[in-house]
Assembly symmetry: C2
Homo-oligomer: 324 residues x 2
């Protein structure tokens, strides 16, 4: 059994070994560029940990970890085009650097390579593995379309928001965990518990992201406080605020979030004031705690020894305490 750090090292080494050196060069340049931008590699590492939780060696699932990471990067490349995002991790996004046409096509190729790595396994029946991946991939497309619809529509409920992050964000961690469990030799029931664990954890992480934007320590997050507020993003905080606010405050919030001509500093200041007055710090932390507890409950149900669950448990506790 490996530690999280060892698995991360293992994964990074494997990722570095990939050479997309086929022709034409300019189709594959964005692969290297995108993968070199880094990231926490949270999903692939947790996939490997899920595999080891069932007593198998994580290396057995390394190709699937690569597959999920390629898939994740494919979604980032295409999402950045759709969202017209000029930056990704502080550097020019792929379409900004290579043009939209190549960004679309490189993303497509990356998705296909994800399938290529996914099927590199002795797991049988392999169509079960591909189905988990397909269902997840389709959910993510649906979640992204829903997210884009939210940007245009005016009223979004908290329930719709949860449905969206469930599809767009939590599904990928859920599928990663399930794939790891399957390759690790989990029973159907344990694979399902592992998937639910990933799903609830994914929601908790997204809520934490939303919380950090408003209540995190700006010095530590490395991001501008209130970035989501400036970008008029429909986060849990905003939707919950709209649900809780009286009519006057609701009108004020709607005015702030419907126009882009506001002084950003003033806007962030006032919106945070409203968030605070509605006790959203506490409300959000409670929601995070709720999903985190659900995740832990699913983890408990998995029928393997406590010591096999420990590495995952430690990792997620560190991740939940992160202040950036």
């Amino acid at each position: 059994m490996h530690s999280a750090e060892e698995l991360q090292q293992l994964f990074n080494n494997e990722l570095k070994k990939l050479s997309f050196s086929r022709q034409p060069n300019n189709l594959y340049d964005p692969f290297k560029y995108m993968l070199d931008l880094g990231g926490k590699r949270m999903r692939p590492v947790m996939l490997l940990m899920a595999c080891e939780m069932f007593g198998a060696d994580g290396t057995k699932a390394i190709s699937q970890a690569i597959a999920l990471e390629l898939f994740h990067n494919f979604t980032l490349i295409h999402d950045d085009i759709m969202d017209r995002a000029p930056l990704r991790r502080g550097k020019p996004s792929v379409h900004q650097k290579y043009g939209s046409a190549t960004a679309i096509l490189s993303g497509d190729a990356m998705l296909i390579y994800a399938y290529q790595y996914l099927i590199k396994t002795s797991f049988s029946p392999i169509e079960k593995l591909v189905s988990v991946f397909n269902d997840c991939a389709i959910s993510i497309c649906e979640g992204q379309q829903m997210d884009m619809n939210f940007e245009k529509g005016d009223t979004v409920s908290v329930e719709q928001y949860f449905e969206m992050i469930d599809l767009k964000t939590a599904t990928l961690l859920a599928a990663s965990m399930r794939v790891g469990a399957m390759i690790g030799g989990a029973s159907e029931q344990d694979a399902e518990h592992t998937e639910h664990f990933g799903k609830n954890l994914g929601v908790a992480f997204q809520l934490k992201d939303d919380w950090l934007d408003a209540f995190g320590e700006a010095g530590k997050t490395g991001k501008q406080r209130g970035g989501d507020i400036i970008q008029n993003k429909k986060t849990f905080l905003l939707l919950e605020a709209l649900r809780r606010a009286d009519d006057d405050t609701k009108t004020e919030l709607n005015q702030y979030f419907m126009s882009s001509g506001n002084d950003p500093e003033k806007k962030v200041g006032r919106v945070l004031e409203i968030f605070n007055s509605l006790q959203l710090d506490l409300v959000t932390r409670q929601a995070i705690e709720e999903y985190f507890s659900k995740a832990l409950l699913s983890l408990q149900k998995i029928e393997v020894g406590q010591e096999l669950k420990l590495p995952l448990k430690n990792l997620i506790e560190i991740m939940m305490q992160r202040d950036h």
Copy 2:
């Protein structure tokens, strides 16, 4: 054993039955729109015929025929965005109708659904089937990038052109035929012959398209004669003309194809004059014949009775004689 018409009917019925009725609607609207635009469904029908050539019932491969047709439509949606094409089969292209963001995402979802249908089979080992599909899909991305590079670069050789259409166009027919053969129960060697048959036929079809643009009867093709010339497309005819022309004619051709300000009618007239003077009608027909013969030779090598090859043979002879 079914006739080509019966298989086409069978396929169209199956395609009509697909209902992509999941939420959000606007992710799936382009599916219906695109599939309703029609098309000859040449690849899926030939996939079913390849399956029946080996004695199996075509219905056995119907999901894979759907998969290949979905994949083909995914490439059309994304290619139209990349090429900024406003029209597809005389109607607004998907990105023109639904916007680029949804066109990118619907295309992605369609590619994922292609995998979903691909794995609906009792064929084993299924990873072999997925590998054929993956290799083909990656080739098509490479071919499309090469094609885009051609649009920008100035000198393209006839050899590079063949490499490009091999990747971008012929591979899909080759893979369709191979998948059909595999599911039909072909030996490895016969599957390979069937694939080569499809590959060479695919090249012949593309050359025929190039030829029709310049020498087809405009009344029958339903397209404007010289459409490729007006769009400055690098076709076999142009590249072969540049290879055969004397320096003065080469300069003239390059001038015509490097600027967009020419009177289209005058341009087409003069370029066709040059094509004629270089005997490109004959040269292209010879090239088509060459690839068609290679295809027939591969068909001959397949170790099944002549009567099983007949439907495919008849179909491709009709297709080669088409004047539109």
